[in-house]
Symmetry: C2
DNA sequence: TGTTAGCACTCTATCTCGTTGAGTGCTAAT
DNA sequence: ATTAGCACTCAACGAGATAGAGTGCTAACA
């Protein structure tokens, strides 16, 4: 039994219908409302075949059919029509650009909001892993007589700060000199290069009279560790999912929301995209459908991810989570648009000011 | 008909039971399991009285009674036993203290987490309104040839930063001088004092050769507006509510969660505590029960709020949201403990480093 | 040989209806 | 004033009965 054109067309129609209604689709419905030109009996036979081949399943004997994960897989890989965003959707994207002057994490956060509003699903973004990022500047800013602020800025525009106590009676000029020396020693290094050994080396290389401020070096090591380890996760529209019948059970809804609140799980999920899921020629779009995802909470959901870049370096992941019957074509189009927009904004943000 | 001691005792017992079970309480249950020493028939009469007086209600004719909002009100005002935290609860509070070295918003965030874990309800905290806060320091830190970071630190330890573009070819020493001048002009002023007029005044007072950097002043005005307007809201344990039968309907759950996501609504709610709700001698604890709250989403919930301070200045609000049948005594005890702890930590953080 | 009409069959969803049991209110006895 | 007793009410539950959507199969048809 082979998957001929007619079978594909029927499958395609069924999936489209199911995406809209979330109700099992019967042969009669296909024959009447969809433009196939066959009787319900014929459709019935074809549907039986499609079920045998694993593309459809039946919730129970006398219900219609719903697509299986395998069915969706075929759908996203070769069946579905690709989609262009509508004018009104595009218009609402304009707002994102206005944030160009803000900081990088605000832009990313905003992108998550836009995506979730645009799609009515849940958007998830991760900020870049900074291992290979370079330090742009380090500054020690005195706040008052007894404390100062360490500020670290990376090439990607990420900023991190920490307050440190100064030994009593430290002279301000002294702090400034130390700050200048720090900057000289550290700027340009990538975060990977700043190991404990490197810190010790700097400590030795400094003149002895900075000894008073040596504890500050430890704080700098801390803060760099923070930046290095830190992958922030922004989620938006988590509650959108509660509007879909798939999540009408509160307990499952809770599980899903708790999962989204757990940063580590989300990062892990976003980074785990599989080779099987990547859509050729889509610019790095990756889709995992239902059980293709190992996580229990995701068995009824799908996730579509994309990378975003500055220049040619991957900065992070954008993902959209929806029920398995989510509207793949539209969602993919929106995801592509937003990630492209994000690329452009970050590029301008990053390159222009370089 | 008056509310004698026996009626009070019965009401007290019923409310305690209902808080545990979330099921209507019948006269038989009260007579058997609770230590009153009266027959179910007598209890029945008393319960009928209590209903007539408005302290109890009946979901339907042949169900038991549940407390009304008025019943809860009486309960929290004069019936309930006050509660001490258990040893194990206290032990888990120890962890909060370790964050002393972190920044103020991390501490506040952590406090929300601790509270929600401790109570199994939803914790909400607001950060202070900064109108009367003073500026501790302002710094303009060059990042590269074309951009710099404005950094603003207030007396409360809040830090805010923004990246600005510099005119091409700006000299670094020049930036430093400008930065020093800024600091001199602005530090010590409260945020309220820095009006548009004040900014113009500073602009005029500066030597003309800083003209190039005048646009930076506008950014400073922006950033100060941000700090002034900004009341951050931290929420923790939002999904805890989904475990209670009161929220078993997904639609209501969604409404509640959406409400929590809306910063403005939450701030408004936290600030709207009423005179009727404040518990005398409890150190500023305020309770609003069910319909005492105007908000639709809160009709089935109660909120207990407290203020927290640095020294004698109110910094913000802590609130715990639960179903109306929440365990008031325990929750109040925990809220008091955590806000006291918060006060102490902030006091140390703020005063020690001053 | 592929398509279709027809029909018996299956299974869920929904409704009704009786039953159960928890709880009440009232009355009469203590 | 309290309590035992009893009739009454009502939600919850389960057992049929019914409707209807949808299927699979067979036989007729082009």
């Amino acid at each position: 039994m082979d998957l001929n054109e007619r079978k594909k067309k029927i499958l395609h129609s069924i999936i489209n219908e199911y995406i809209k209604s979330a109700e099992p689709i019967g042969s009669r419905h296909v024959a009447k409302n969809l433009d196939i030109g066959l009787s319900s009996a014929t459709i019935r036979n074809e549907m039986a075949d499609l079920e045998e081949m694993g593309y459809l399943e039946q919730p129970h004997t006398s219900a219609g059919r719903i697509p299986s994960d395998k069915g969706y897989r075929l759908y996203v890989d070769s069946l579905m029509n690709h989609h262009e965003m509508t004018v009104s959707d595009l218009a609402s994207l304009g707002n994102v650009i206005e944030l160009q002057m803000g900081q990088i994490d605000k832009i990313i956060k905003r992108a998550a909001e836009v995506l979730s509003q645009l799609t009515n699903y849940t958007a998830v973004l991760t900020t870049p892993e900074m291992k290979r990022g370079a330090i742009k500047t380090v500054e020690l800013v005195p706040i008052d007589a007894s404390s100062a602020l360490i500020i670290l800025v990376t090439g990607e525009g990420v900023m991190k700060h920490k307050r440190v106590l100064l030994p009593a009676g430290t002279d301000i000029t002294f702090v400034h000199n130390f700050s200048a020396l720090l900057r000289e020693k550290l700027s340009g290094l990538t975060l990977d290069e700043i190991t404990a050994a490197k810190i010790s080396e700097i400590r030795r290389a400094m003149q002895a009279h900075f000894e008073l401020l040596f504890p500050v070096l430890d704080f700098i090591a801390d803060i760099i560790d923070d930046v290095r380890a830190e992958t922030e996760v922004y989620t938006s529209g988590a509650t959108n999912m509660l509007a879909y019948p798939e999540y009408s059970d509160v307990r499952q809804a809770k599980e899903f929301l708790d999962f989204l609140n757990d940063k580590n799980s989300v990062v892990k999920m976003l980074q785990a995209d599989s080779a099987e899921g990547s859509i050729p020629g889509s610019g790095g779009i990756n889709i995992r459908i239902g059980k293709e995802n190992e996580l229990d909470v995701m068995q009824k959901s799908s996730i579509i991810t994309a990378n975003y870049y500055v220049g040619d370096q991957v900065m992070g992941k954008v993902g959209i989570i929806g029920p398995t019957r989510m509207d793949y074509p539209k969602t993919i189009a929106k995801l592509q648009r937003v990630s492209a927009l994000l690329n452009r904004i970050l590029y301008e943000f990053y390159i222009d000011e370089d």
